[in-house]
């Protein structure tokens, strides 16, 4: 006698049923996009309001800079040593934002980067646009595919370039502590983006343009190689109890997880994803076709069990 398989039954190793209708919409990726859009919309509102109202009117407007968690990291030394003052362009709100990001990192790894950061979202958008255009323009698809094949030879370079963000972190935070002002500000693409209405040509604007162009070919280039906040968040995330577990017994090694990872991590190669570069966007979990092959787990910090 054979038992008819229940399509709703989830057993490890079984293929995930294709979601349709509202169930296809109600996923963690939808929630992630909603949170990213919410934060990006709020910052866009601040940028526009600041540009329209201006800082010299009687109305005190809030600069988008006041909501930058990295500003909190840059001003932290001065705030701790003086107790009251901040480096220019930063406020108490920056310190509070930093605390929120670091607590999230302690609990959920670099989830701020994957779920909330508007600069990460902007890079995601450009990459999605690239994917959209590649589907419709075969020539573009072939060109980018060819470039990626050539770029694969530079995998070693990719590995070492990822350390660049730690140098940026030391330079930005150390510079602010030593000199008392934000040495990184003029080179910061986020600062250039939120000051776009001022039409000021800074090195940060060039970095922003390069980042957006690079996002067309590589996902999240700024996050991978240069983001100092991501570097700090990733390092602290090492102490987090959450991690991604790949079950080698049920994994079919289809490599879809690796292909979808915006940070370019080789997920199919490891049993536990504990890389400092993981932004816990969970795109790999969403893309994985097998039940139980890739799951979010809570365990002991550092050990991951």
């Amino acid at each position: 006698m054979t038992t008819k398989p229940n399509p709703e039954q989830v057993t490890p190793g079984s293929l995930k049923p294709k979601k349709r209708g509202i169930r296809a919409f109600l996923t963690h990726q939808t929630l992630r996009r909603i949170s990213q859009i919410g934060v990006a919309s709020f910052i866009t509102y601040l940028i526009i309001r600041n540009a329209i109202v201006g800082e010299n009117s009687g109305i005190a407007t809030t600069s988008p800079e006041a909501y930058c968690p990295f500003g909190g990291l840059e001003t932290l030394y001065k705030y701790i040593t003086t107790g009251t003052s901040f480096v220019s362009h930063t406020h108490l709100s920056n310190v509070v934002m930093l605390i929120a990001v670091l607590v999230v990192a302690l609990l959920f790894r670099s989830a701020f980067c994957g779920w909330l950061c508007p600069l990460g979202f902007l890079q995601d958008l450009v990459s999605k646009l690239s994917g959209f255009l590649q589907k419709r323009i075969p020539g573009l698809r072939r060109g980018i595919s060819s470039l990626k094949k050539k770029g694969a030879r530079l995998a070693v370079l990719d590995r070492y370039l990822r350390y660049l963000k730690y140098l940026v972190l030391v330079w930005a935070v150390g510079g602010a502590a030593v000199f008392g002002f934000m040495v990184f500000k003029d080179f910061d693409p986020w600062s250039a983006l939120i000051s776009i209405a001022e039409f000021s040509f800074t090195p940060g604007l060039i970095v922003l343009i390069i980042t957006l162009i690079a996002s067309f070919f590589i996902e999240r280039p700024w996050c991978r190689y240069a983001c100092p906040l991501g570097a700090a968040s990733g390092l602290l995330g090492k102490l987090s109890p959450t991690y991604l577990k790949r079950d080698a017994d049920v994994c079919t090694s289809c490599k879809i997880c690796t292909k979808t990872c915006p940070m370019g991590l080789k997920i199919h190669d490891v049993s536990t994803v504990k890389s400092v570069d993981c932004v816990t966007c969970l795109e790999c979990v969403d893309a994985c076709p097998v039940n139980g092959a890739l799951e979010v787990k809570i365990g002991l910090p550092l050990i991951g069990k």
Binding site: N56, A60, L92, V96, V101, L116, D286, V296, K297
Partner: protein, 214 residues
């Protein structure tokens, strides 16, 4: 322990915004250097030009540091038609920025020299060297203080000083529009409290002072 990705996302969002809202509810939140935590406007400190910020206007600088607008414009080759309400940072050029203004104002302040006084030993003939009681007190100089030129209204001038300079009571009461009851009141504080423009009152009063015989 396995955790559902949707629950994971909800936790991330809840913890992040929960912390921010918690700090805001506790009053540990400020998004502007222009107002303090109680919402009171931050003003430059008369004794510390480094408290000048780029968003502050020339009017605030003029009123606080007893310097005329013309002096600033001339010193930094700024257009003579520059409105007093212009923010310092909006005038930034190769020859002028906030730090240059601060340095110039610092160079204009006159330090008050206080002599160092060393007290002599209380007991000039001690019984033994071991019990000698030598008191040596060094009085440190006062912080650099801002001195206003004679008969110039600043942000610290009181109504009593106007009387002392010979300005008739009726004249400044006419300018401010009502009788003054407390002459020790600082004119700027009075103007701010009444919602009047200090710069207007200051200009009118200064005109009256300038025509008085010295």
């Amino acid at each position: 322990m396995k955790i559902n990705p949707i629950v994971y996302g909800i936790l991330v969002i809840t913890v992040f915004f929960g912390i921010i809202l918690g700090f805001q509810a506790a009053g540990v939140w400020s998004t502007s250097g222009k107002v303090d935590n109680s919402g009171k406007a931050i003003q430059p400190s008369a004794s510390d030009p480094t408290s000048i910020k780029g968003w502050m206007t020339l009017e605030q600088v003029v009123n606080t540091y007893n310097v005329s607008l013309a002096d600033i414009l001339t010193q930094f080759n700024l257009p003579s038609t520059t409105p007093v309400t212009t923010a310092v940072k909006d005038l930034e050029s190769d020859t002028f920025d906030t730090s240059a203004l601060i340095a110039w104002l610092q160079s204009r302040t006159i330090p008050i020299e206080v002599p160092t006084i060393t007290l002599e030993p209380i007991n000039p003939t001690p019984v033994t060297p071991q019990v000698a009681t030598e008191i040596s007190e060094v009085i440190t100089p006062l912080a650099t203080e801002h001195l206003a030129p004679d008969r110039t209204i600043t942000g610290k001038t009181t109504f009593q000083e106007l009387l002392d300079w010979g300005v008739p009571n009726e004249v400044f009461q006419t300018i401010v529009g009502e009788p003054i009851t407390d002459y020790n009141l600082i004119i700027k504080d009075y103007a701010v409290g009444k919602g009047l423009a200090f710069s207007d009152i200051k200009t009118k009063l200064q005109t009256e002072i300038d025509v008085l015989p010295k």
